[in-house]
Symmetry: D3
Subunit: 136 residues, 6 copies
């Protein structure tokens, strides 16, 4: 159902540049599972590398925001953008990183409340309070 052919993993890995990225995904995630987005990018090793490098740097490297929070933020953006695949894959990732059912429920409450007030503010065209402005 994709708009381009998704090669099998074996077929994709015949290209050494693709195999190198897939191997790094496996090593970083400590899992043999390569999900479909990476098959979709197999035809373009340059774009594959660029996307993976960013995912690795932003999502898989210890930093000032903890790994589970990062996944919940990712789910939030993906929901608002209506990306079904992304919502599914990052919800699975959040669960793998320890998201409890209670946290998932709260996440849905926050996301949907934001959806509500976003629409409300836009419908009313509320002007910015000077208190929120950041002076440069």
């Amino acid at each position: 159902m994709a708009t381009l052919k998704l090669p099998s993993i074996a077929e994709a890995e015949k290209n050494p540049a693709v195999k190198a990225v897939y191997d790094d995904i496996r090593a970083t995630r400590k899992s043999d599972f390569i999900n479909n987005i990476w098959r979709g990018l197999a035809g373009s090793p340059v774009l594959l590398q660029r996307i993976w490098d960013q995912i690795k740097a932003v999502m898989a490297t210890p930093s000032a925001i903890d790994p589970l929070t990062k996944e919940m933020i990712y789910i939030a953006v993906s929901t608002a953008n209506g990306c079904s695949y992304c919502v599914h894959s990052h919800t699975a990732a959040a669960r793998a990183k320890g998201m409890t059912d209670e946290q998932h429920t709260e996440l849905m409450a926050i996301i949907s409340l934001a959806g509500q007030t976003n629409h409300l503010v836009t419908a009313m065209q509320i002007p910015l309070d000077p208190e929120f402005e950041v002076k440069s």
Copy 2:
């Protein structure tokens, strides 16, 4: 610039039902500041109450997700929905709850990376991996 008249706080508080909500906002937030969205809702005490009750329950009550993370999720949704006022007000709220410049930068990196892969997945129409399906 709003699509309806925004009364001044003093004018709005002539309605006791509005004043009661504003007083609860002040007490909950430990601040005298009432921002513009609440002025926009002054004409409808029922809707005002409904929105505030939810904000209070979801965002201002201790729970399984910490207050700063909640604000970062709110910013994520508001950004994807293009709600300028919401991005501003919740960034201010996140800062008030301790968000550092480093965390803000990371938040922008995560949100924008999600925007990138959301578009990529949608352009390629990547099919769902069976591994991500939740069995009912």
Copy 3:
């Protein structure tokens, strides 16, 4: 602040094809006011005519949905799409067609509730009930 020059009405009407559309807008709306979107389209009489013909046919011709309801639907779409100009112009049009403050408040309640459940359904990825399917 537009991405193209907006000629004054007088300047735009030097083109007879533009003047003919503007005159039809005035006659249909029984008003001399030509708002900015029509100035933006003055450089392309073909596109100007195409857009106006549709607005006239869909929004200004008696049909199975009453004029005020049409404007409220237009506001709903424009809000969800985050089009500030469109929210403003169609709210003004709805008021001109009789929208009361009470109806405006309800409209905001409906739009924002839809925003909330839209996000909730997408975050949960709720599957379609067979009962909602239309058989072909």
Copy 4:
């Protein structure tokens, strides 16, 4: 395919708080049918109650906007937000409330025309006419 387990209605109703809401849905709608979104919310009686209370207050209580118009507004928002489930469920609801094929066709014409002019206005970045400003 949901991101969380959807319990059967019978399983969900073992929780009295869930059963109470479901019973109110049935009584309000005069129908035994409980659609999937309510199964998705069964794990969180608080969120379930909050969402249903709003749907009941906004959509199922006589007010200044008639029930069919409310559903058409809901469809409009859901379409612009790309929520497939929501478009389906509210189109079914609109039909149940009397929407004719002619009205459905008109609704699609309005929604899609709004989509067109929303994009046009955003591409041109049309500035707001002072005539549309509401003075506070």
Copy 5:
């Protein structure tokens, strides 16, 4: 799965007004294939005609932007709007007009990079540089 019945082509063409549009689609595209959107519009010959007239004028008439570029722009909008059907149909159309795999890969790189910077700019609420303003 549509929200309205999709008649078969044969059934739809019993209406001469529908048949006339379908025949023009076939002649313009030099193909017998009528895709599903046109079946969906069969119940409203007026809307069917209006949509086809625009597709023909904008997409199928020689002009200042070449046919393949037009399709790539269409894919870009459809991706950002999350319209799965539209992404599929216009990707097929782009391929039929000569889009190579390399161009498709680049298109995905551009669309997803735009998605990234769009989110980044909105999260930061970058103010417009005076240099980008068009003077009227």
Copy 6:
């Protein structure tokens, strides 16, 4: 009005890592002008470098899609995402790369028509034609 302080160019360039990127922007674009998005990213040289590297690779390197077409695709995505700053900056870039008024008008016609049919298809929930499926 940004959500973070935008340093002046001079202030930003005190950081050698930032200056190196700004110098590369100037050299690549053969212009001294550094627009506001790059000031917004000055606080995070890593993210600044990551975004610029991609813009340079995707938008400023000769490839299978010509430079003007790339900018028009960028405008299309930015319009659908409602990013006002992005629409302005990439329209300016497109003009600098030779976009004529006629092409700009056509671009608006294509973008807005896509917006129309995207909404129409989503409102009707048109199922995918098997002919559009890509076999893997």
